[in-house]
């Protein structure tokens, strides 16, 4: 047994195992934070998150909304001198939260993902009217944006009925399999998210 294995903070090695990127390589140059379009809004900036992963401070990360504000625009990954791919590391962290403690998701973001995935699971494709309605119901933000729907409709941009796929069984099998394969996966967390509403 390599003794260094035991010394490696557990969170960093979990991330490495999940996505093949090693947060331990980060040397805190801050280039990710400096280029991140969401830095101004994140309570914990992306560079700090990398450091907190190294320090194994998972509570700080998971109980904060920052990882959910990531736009996955990949600017940080493109510029990281150490090729750490912070965006990929954040993917891994979000996945960990979804699987282990979905209650920690910010409510609107949870609603959005939930509505989105439910759409795909049900129809195989995203039917935007359904998505918007699903999101609003789940997030409680009933009145936001309502003014725009008629505008969309007027421009022929809203389909009111979903089209269904022939291979919808395929898609549903993928959902089940992915859920089953990664432990308490999406299927479970979706159910969990649903019950929390």
């Amino acid at each position: 047994m390599d003794p260094t294995d035991e010394q490696r903070p557990i969170l960093a090695s979990q991330v490495l195992e999940r996505v093949g990127r090693d947060p331990a390589r980060c040397y805190q140059c801050g280039k990710c934070t400096a280029g991140c379009p969401m830095s101004a809004e994140m309570p914990i900036k992306v560079g700090q998150i990398m450091r907190l992963v190294q320090l194994d401070r998972r509570e700080r990360i998971f109980r904060d909304s920052s990882i959910w504000l990531c736009l996955t625009c990949e600017t940080c990954s493109a510029r990281c001198p150490m090729d750490c791919e912070p965006a990929t590391v954040l993917d891994a962290l979000r996945e960990m939260v979804v699987q282990r403690d979905p209650a920690l998701l910010p409510v609107r973001i949870r609603a959005m993902h939930q509505a989105f995935l439910a759409q795909i699971r049900k129809n195989g494709r995203v039917f935007e009217m359904g998505l918007v309605m699903g999101y609003k119901v789940r997030s409680g933000a009933l009145m936001d944006d309502m003014t725009t729907a008629p505008g969309l409709y007027a421009r022929g941009k809203l389909a009111l009925t979903p089209r269904k796929l022939r291979g919808i069984a395929d898609v549903q099998r993928i959902f089940n399999a992915c859920g089953a394969q990664v432990g308490s996966g999406v299927a479970d967390s979706l159910r969990y998210l649903g019950s929390r509403r």
Binding site: C73, A78, D91, V98, R108, M112, I120, G124, E128, G185
Partner: protein
């Protein structure tokens, strides 16, 4: 030339004009689009943000369907779909274990042989034809090309253009006779991922982008992504209303065109066939000026 076609969910709804203009342009340029039969959503971006395997398996289903139809290349006009399909292809190529796992989930043979291309890439290939068939050069139209994130990043996945200093979109713009402007926010994210759930962020980011485009003298912004379009067009009213980040643009509304619409105009396709009437920010003043120059009337 024929190519596989993956429309993606949004072009059938909010981004209808994108598909309309793409199809119109394709037919003028003799590009056949073979739609992948029974395609499904790529999962962007909720799938990969929450479940790594799902984020690969959903796009992989579509690549497998395309492979079954013996397609070698698939065009994904939506930049997000393009990103997810490219990423699935990349991940399956480098991670054997993942490929096996996905193979089990898909329950169909899959060699990962299909290439994924975006709209700019295909238009770039067709540049000679565009120049040749341009009947209504957009001379003098100052345009800011906006790449956003997913066309060029992560570059090892997409392998398309230079992630920090791309030029492909400008090349296409130049072929239409329009003038590409130098500006700074070409690859800065518009915030699409939070479009629904965090309007404030979207407004802040959109503001910076539109202001920089205006400052460069642009009369229009050209995009190749339904989400960029929706954030800059559909949300532009909200962006322009906000005063939190400096004064709103004096020039007021800035039309946001799909690159296919721009090319379509140059090819002489009627604006209505390009869906230009479907925008929230009216394209009419722009069209009027353009056609006036050429001594024509707005259709």
């Amino acid at each position: 030339m024929n190519i596989g076609y993956y429309p993606g969910c949004s072009v059938h709804a909010t981004a209808r004009e994108y598909e309309e203009s793409l199809k119109a342009v394709a037919s003028v340029l003799d590009l056949g689009l073979d739609e992948i039969p029974d395609w499904s959503c790529c999962g962007a971006s909720s799938a990969h943000a929450t479940n790594h395997l799902l984020g690969v398996a959903l796009p992989a289903r579509n690549l497998a369907l395309a492979e079954a139809e013996e397609m070698t290349r698939v065009l994904a006009p939506c930049a997000a779909c393009y990103g997810r399909l490219s990423n699935a292809r990349f991940e399956l190529g480098r991670d054997q274990a993942l490929a096996r796992e996905v193979g089990v989930v898909l329950r169909r043979p899959f060699r990962n042989s299909v290439q994924v291309v975006n709209v700019v890439e295909i238009l770039q290939e067709l540049l000679p034809r565009i120049s040749q068939r341009t009947v209504r050069p957009l001379a003098g139209l100052k345009v800011a090309s906006y790449y956003g994130c997913l066309l060029v990043r992560p570059s090892k996945v997409t392998g398309f253009d230079d992630p920090e200093a791309p030029t492909s979109m400008e090349q296409v713009v130049d072929a239409t006779g329009a003038v590409s402007l130098q500006w700074n926010k070409r690859t800065t994210c518009c915030g699409a991922g939070l479009s629904l759930s965090r309007l404030g962020s979207v407004v802040r980011l959109g503001h910076a982008i539109l202001n920089d485009a205006r400052a460069s003298g642009a009369r229009a912004v050209v995009v190749a992504c339904p989400m960029c379009h929706s954030n800059l067009d559909f949300r532009q009213a909200a962006i322009n209303r906000s005063r939190q980040h400096g004064a709103p643009g004096r020039a007021g509304e800035l039309p946001i065109l799909y690159i296919t619409q721009l090319v379509g105009l140059a090819l002489g396709i009627a604006p209505s066939k390009l869906g230009l009437q479907r925008h929230f920010v009216s394209t009419r003043p722009l069209l009027e000026r353009l056609l006036e120059q050429q001594g024509m009337e707005v259709a």
